[in-house]
């Protein structure tokens, strides 16, 4: 929990400092960066599609954010939490119907062609809006992108769209890909999806399946003197236990995204030359959530949902499942979010007696065997922690007389069972909070989402009040009023429990102390690493 509070404070302190003296170029570096060297990092998966404009997910960003850049990146100290990348300035119209981006001059694609506003228009209209998993929601009202000159792109929206949302969406949703590569043929089948071409500090060099990805320095990069590294190798190490030994053996220099199991961190932090870093993931908060199928008549009863919330010892989960590297959750917005979070929501203290009383009150008394009813519980298989929490939840439910039967599936089968077939009563899911509730959070409770959309409300929950609130917030342009609506949203969700938020966690990096400029922005692991350097 402490790491979240600290990081939040750092964010605030950082922005205050910069506001005070905008003349400071960057926060002073402890050492001067050196040029050259090869950074070897652990990769635990090999995404099928490496195009971040289509698949906006951390597994893809981890590799391709070095190759394909976004319009802006998240930042600890920049204005509105942003640092310019391909765009140097952005401005929203007062009526919410347009956003103007000023683009960076002199940027070249890796194949030598110049980067222009046509590329931004093409990416936004042809890829982000129709094809991207997250862009479909955020850019749904994007009608046209005007390009008055080569360095200006004006996004036109059919309905008022909050500028705050567009800003918050820039770091994850605005990967720009080259129009001249993608304009012929089907975008989904373009070979560049597996060998991306971008404007970033590194060029895609090769991928040996099952072995490694190799990225090499882009000598024509727009950043002055950047990048520092000559090469980045992503060593494929699917076995989580092996990342720790590879670090110790100096085969790799960085294991991000908690590739080293939490239980090993205590030991590995004592190994000379290795550092355990909890910073650099503030913009990628995962939420541990109990998804509820409201089609089950027992679970449609608010008393039962409240009983389940009271049965979960969130402190135990943080301490035992996450070994302290997490924070307890109060509602659908994580505590470390600087813009929207409110603590003023109904809370559910760990209280087994109260949970039992609520269930008795709801009319589900214990049978002779001490059981009230049976449930199917599907823990998501993506993280060790979601699986372990599944084991814990089964025990927590047993304590209040609910017999939960675990069903284990692989990723594909889990997604189908929960989000398409609705063959679950309770599921454990890890949705991601992406800096704005409208990007990937409201979809978890909103009704009317077609079957099969993953990480959305597939539990048959329908609450007209909440739906109206979400709709209103999506067209409220004033940031203060919009933030207030999302605070109301948090209160309503915590009161009616369409799902139960248990904990919030981020990732841990383990890195050799020869690597410089680590964790210097809130999405560091998925940022472009142009300023990362190696002590040789």
């Amino acid at each position: 929990m402490s790491d979240f509070t600290i990081s939040r404070r750092t964010v605030l302190a950082g922005s205050a400092l910069l506001l005070a003296s905008t003349a400071l170029p960057t926060i002073a570096l402890a050492q001067t960066p050196k040029k050259g060297g090869r950074l070897v990092v652990a990769a635990d998966s090999e995404p099928r599609n490496l195009n971040p404009a289509i698949v906006a997910s951390n597994a893809v960003f981890f590799i391709s954010s070095k190759i394909v850049e976004t319009l802006a990146e998240a930042s600890f100290e920049g204005k509105d939490g942003l640092d310019p990348r391909l765009a140097t300035g952005w401005e929203g119209a007062a009526d919410g119907l347009s956003v103007t981006f000023k683009l960076r001059e002199g940027v070249k694609w890796h194949d030598g062609k110049p980067f222009t506003s046509a590329d931004v228009a093409f990416s936004a209209l042809q890829i982000w809006k129709p094809l991207q998993n997250l862009g479909r929601t955020v850019f749904k009202d994007l009608e046209a992108v005007d390009t008055p000159d080569e360095l200006t792109a004006v996004f036109k929206f059919a309905r008022p769209t909050p500028f705050q949302l567009i800003r918050n969406a820039l770091p994850a949703l605005s990967s720009v890909v080259p129009k001249h590569i993608y304009e012929t043929g089907k975008i989904e089948e373009n070979p560049a999806n597996n060998a991306p071409i971008g404007t970033g500090p590194f060029k895609f060099a090769e991928h040996k399946p099952g072995e490694y990805y190799r990225l090499e320095k882009n000598a024509d990069y727009w950043g002055k003197d950047q990048p520092y590294l000559d090469e980045i190798i992503y060593q494929v190490l699917p076995d989580r236990a092996s990342a720790a030994s590879a670090l110790e053996a100096e085969e790799i220099q960085l294991a991000a995204f908690s590739a080293v199991p939490l239980a090993d961190l205590d030991r590995i932090s004592k190994v000379p030359g290795l550092k355990v870093i909890t910073k650099g993931y503030e913009g990628l908060t995962y939420q541990l959530v109990v998804e509820i199928n409201h089609r089950r008549k027992e679970l449609a009863d608010l008393n039962v949902r409240q009983a389940i919330a009271h049965a979960i010892d969130k402190d135990f989960v943080v301490k035992t499942v996450f070994l302290g590297y997490a924070a307890t959750a109060t509602g659908p917005v994580p505590k470390n979010d600087p813009q929207f979070y409110t603590a003023d929501v109904p809370t559910y203290a760990f209280d087994v007696a109260k949970a039992n009383a609520l269930l008795d009150e709801a009319g589900y008394s214990k049978g002779d065997d001490g059981k009230r009813f049976s449930l199917k519980l599907l823990p998501a298989p993506y993280f060790n922690e979601t699986k372990q929490f599944g084991d814990y939840l089964r025990q927590a439910l047993a304590a209040i007389g609910i017999d939960a039967q675990l069903v284990n599936n692989d990723s594909a089968a889990h997604i189908k069972a929960v989000y398409t077939d609705h063959a679950f009563d309770l599921a454990v899911g890890p949705p991601v909070f992406r800096g704005d509730p409208a990007i990937s959070t409201t979809i978890l409770v909103q009704s009317g989402i077609p079957d099969g959309v993953p990480f959305s409300n597939q539990g048959g929950y329908k609450n007209d009040e909440l739906d109206a609130l979400i709709a209103k917030a999506s067209e409220t342009l004033d940031p203060a009023a919009r933030t207030e609506l999302y605070k109301e949203f948090q209160r309503k969700v915590a009161a009616d429990l369409p799902l139960i938020n248990v904990a919030e966690w981020s990732f841990i990096s383990v890195v050799r102390d020869t690597v410089g400029n680590v964790a210097n922005n809130p999405r560091w692991a998925v940022s472009n690493w142009a300023d990362t350097w190696l002590e040789t």
Partner: protein
């Protein structure tokens, strides 16, 4: 010399038998010593063994009692091992007897099916079956039996081929017994001993396969299994190796015990047969 005494003379066999008896004792007394759910959280997480005598073997990452899990896991291993072996032997014996006794087209068809099953590695077959049907105890048993029945089938067929030429079979034919009756009442019982000799290997292999499936997360998640315990412990192998070592040792001893005891029985009976 009676068979029991001969069995008791072989030291390996006795060691195997002792292990097996201990294992059965563990499985049978599990709910006596550790009533309730063995997966209930019993204490602080990651307690090392021999620290707290109410939790003699320590606790796992969630604070579950390793000793209780070990006892309950013994039951799962034995049930799966014995049930899978019984199913494999039954299917194998019937298929082998039918093929050997009927001969001709029936033999051809049955043996080609056996060949087909034999060409697929039995573990892959089990893996595929469980991941399609979904993990539960019955499915795991079926999956293991699916890959194990071919050995008994081939042995039974070979044995039946020689037995069906014996005089007593001809005699049975002459008195007008139905061929199926001859096959299963006269021939099969005589063909069984060498088939049963395979049982110890099959039980041992079945226990290992179950552990491997659970290790890969394809065991029944609502049941404690040793393979599942090893898999759970793998994430903390460097900091709490006992979580993997304890069920691992239990698994090794069990397989060894089954094998040694089985060998002992086979040798004893083999000597008896050759003496008679």
């Amino acid at each position: 010399m009676n068979p029991l005494r001969r069995f008791l003379r072989a030291r390996e066999a006795v060691a195997g038998a002792i292990i097996l008896v201990a294992l059965f004792a563990m499985a049978l007394t599990a709910s006596l010593f550790f009533p309730g759910d063995p997966q209930a959280i019993a204490g602080p997480a990651l307690l090392p063994p021999f620290q707290d005598w109410s939790l003699p073997l320590g606790t796992d990452r969630l604070g579950r009692d390793v000793m209780a899990e070990l006892f309950h896991g013994a039951g799962t291993s034995l049930v799966v091992g014995l049930a899978a072996a019984a199913a494999a032997l039954a299917v194998g014996a019937i298929v082998g007897t039918l093929a050997g006794f009927a001969g001709g087209l029936v033999d051809e068809v049955l043996m080609r099916i056996t060949d087909a099953f034999q060409t697929v590695p039995s573990f892959l077959l089990a893996l595929a079956f469980v991941s399609i049907v979904g993990p539960s105890l019955g499915v795991v048993v079926t999956a293991i039996a699916l890959g194990a029945w071919t050995g008994p089938a081939r042995v039974a067929r070979a044995e039946v081929l020689s037995i069906r030429e014996r005089d007593f079979v001809a005699g049975a034919r002459v008195i007008g017994m139905h061929p199926l009756e001859i096959a299963f009442r006269e021939v099969l019982p005589n063909a069984l001993p060498p088939v049963l000799a395979l049982s110890s290997v099959i039980v041992a292999a079945a226990i290992l396969t179950e552990a491997a499936l659970s290790f890969l997360g394809l065991g029944d998640p609502n049941r404690v299994t040793w393979g599942g315990m090893i898999a759970e412990g793998r994430a903390v192998l460097r900091t709490a190796p006992f979580l993997s070592i304890i069920p691992g040792v239990a698994l090794v001893l069990t397989v060894l015990g089954v094998y040694l005891a089985g060998e002992g029985v086979v040798e004893t009976t083999a000597v008896r047969r050759s003496l008679s």
